[in-house]
Symmetry: D3
Subunit: 117 residues, 6 copies
Amino acid sequence: MSDSPGTLAAFRHFREKMNEAILNAGNVNIKRFFALDTRSYDAGALDVKTKELLGLVASMVLRCDDCITYHLVRCREERVTDDEFFDAFSVALVVGGSIVIPHLRRAVARLEELPAA
Amino acid sequence: MSDSPGTLAAFRHFREKMNEAILNAGNVNIKRFFALDTRSYDAGALDVKTKELLGLVASMVLRCDDCITYHLVRCREERVTDDEFFDAFSVALVVGGSIVIPHLRRAVARLEELPAA
Amino acid sequence: MSDSPGTLAAFRHFREKMNEAILNAGNVNIKRFFALDTRSYDAGALDVKTKELLGLVASMVLRCDDCITYHLVRCREERVTDDEFFDAFSVALVVGGSIVIPHLRRAVARLEELPAA
Amino acid sequence: MSDSPGTLAAFRHFREKMNEAILNAGNVNIKRFFALDTRSYDAGALDVKTKELLGLVASMVLRCDDCITYHLVRCREERVTDDEFFDAFSVALVVGGSIVIPHLRRAVARLEELPAA
Amino acid sequence: MSDSPGTLAAFRHFREKMNEAILNAGNVNIKRFFALDTRSYDAGALDVKTKELLGLVASMVLRCDDCITYHLVRCREERVTDDEFFDAFSVALVVGGSIVIPHLRRAVARLEELPAA
Amino acid sequence: MSDSPGTLAAFRHFREKMNEAILNAGNVNIKRFFALDTRSYDAGALDVKTKELLGLVASMVLRCDDCITYHLVRCREERVTDDEFFDAFSVALVVGGSIVIPHLRRAVARLEELPAA
């Protein structure tokens, strides 16, 4: 398993291609899950930015690189700044421990691919 | 393992007694970790309420009841409303899956012990 | 945390009471998740018994006692025999390791509360 | 960490080479574990197909790509159909949550490398 | 779920009773796993004390209270001192993060039930 | 995700580059965590070799390849022999189950890159 992540473009290409294959397979419960997953980050009592930060930190402590990449992109679109990202990372780190560090490294490398806030 | 949680008072009593025993044991790295844990939720680029919500959702997806209780109490002190709690719960649920549900039940039972926002 | 589980009746009472409180809170995404969770075990290409066994083993390796109890009850209703249960337990044990053992103990204690297959 | 998986041939080559190195190292408890791991999927009260599906779903919720690949191959050898796979995936998804999705993508990509049922 | 642990006597009674029930159920792979679990802590290239400390820290980062209790007892029998325990706890804490803390509290409470080293 | 690991040199290069980027970002709590992480393996009541072995086994059961690589290197520097490594691996395997095996394969491949003890 390589320590440095692939490019964001490669991530997006594979994600879109496979999401399409999954949704085309016709399993209705999986389709419902994907729809619910999207809706869960819509604005509600909490705003979109806060919910994307929640998704980011949840993904970090559960150590899912692809989920982290997805939420980094969405957070940036919601104008999360670098200092806010590192503040969120520090919570993930203290809750999840040093095993979060390799994912933090890849998250910071990924962040460098994204446009500034 | 009992499904319903003990009282908040029992949680607090045991937590304080044992934290004291741990800090009195004299291991400097454990003391540093406890201090860092507390500081990680101080206001920074993100405000305290957001950071406590991050800690709450991280605790839910990692399924740590005592951590959930701690952050529920702190979130309430920061004036998190019931609707905001359930919005955060919904993110934890979709990220972490149905195994989060038993912890959600105990979180909601715990919430009923706390004063209204 | 107590090693022996509470009674099945206590589990059911708390589960039903809190599920009602959760669904009454009015968060639509949480309601959708609960509905999807139920539908995921309906007969499809795989029959109900197989899907409940999948839910049971998933719950064991993720070490969620309340989830295990729920699926033990549903599996028994689907006429899973004791030998079939232990065969499923053996897969959970080898995949998940010795940390599954305390949950296996509680599962077997729970099984003794259920009617024979 | 790359999002798309390597080839099945590369997986098999590395797996066989390293399993041989591990077993040649002469640690008797590790040898016993490997033997027990194999035997755990033999036909018993449950048939081989059901046990391989249990192994697959356990691997998905624990998010182990190499374990998923192994059980996908074995399930296919036991004539698991695409619809049955997606039914099993839907259980893994609802139990384990959205963090299972990246592994589901890689599982479906892997499935496309396998012969039809 | 209660925050404070039950007594060591209750743990031992339930553990022995259920282990007996499990082994009497006649599943040969489960029996083999239990035997292998015991043998894995026998003296080898590493001594028993070191292996029990490895089991303890593994149990802490995986957050299994009953496993922690078991290894605390065995470590004490191998003359692990309080300072050595806290040194091991500090490694578990930094690797596993603040979600280990509730288990650390219960471990220290349990330690108070054991005879001095 | 590739099953075979990248080279040790690539791991070190990426690790050092990203650690520098993380520490330069100026978040004081993250800096404190990194400092505490290093200090946690200093000699105390337990010696460095034992603490590095604890870190290794914790990393294996939590299935963090980069953490495993780091502790393999440090253990080797502390003169851990091949037989001692495999003894530690056997504890990780029985505690964490067969999902540890892919990480064990990569650990053994990594070990072949390191100088003999």
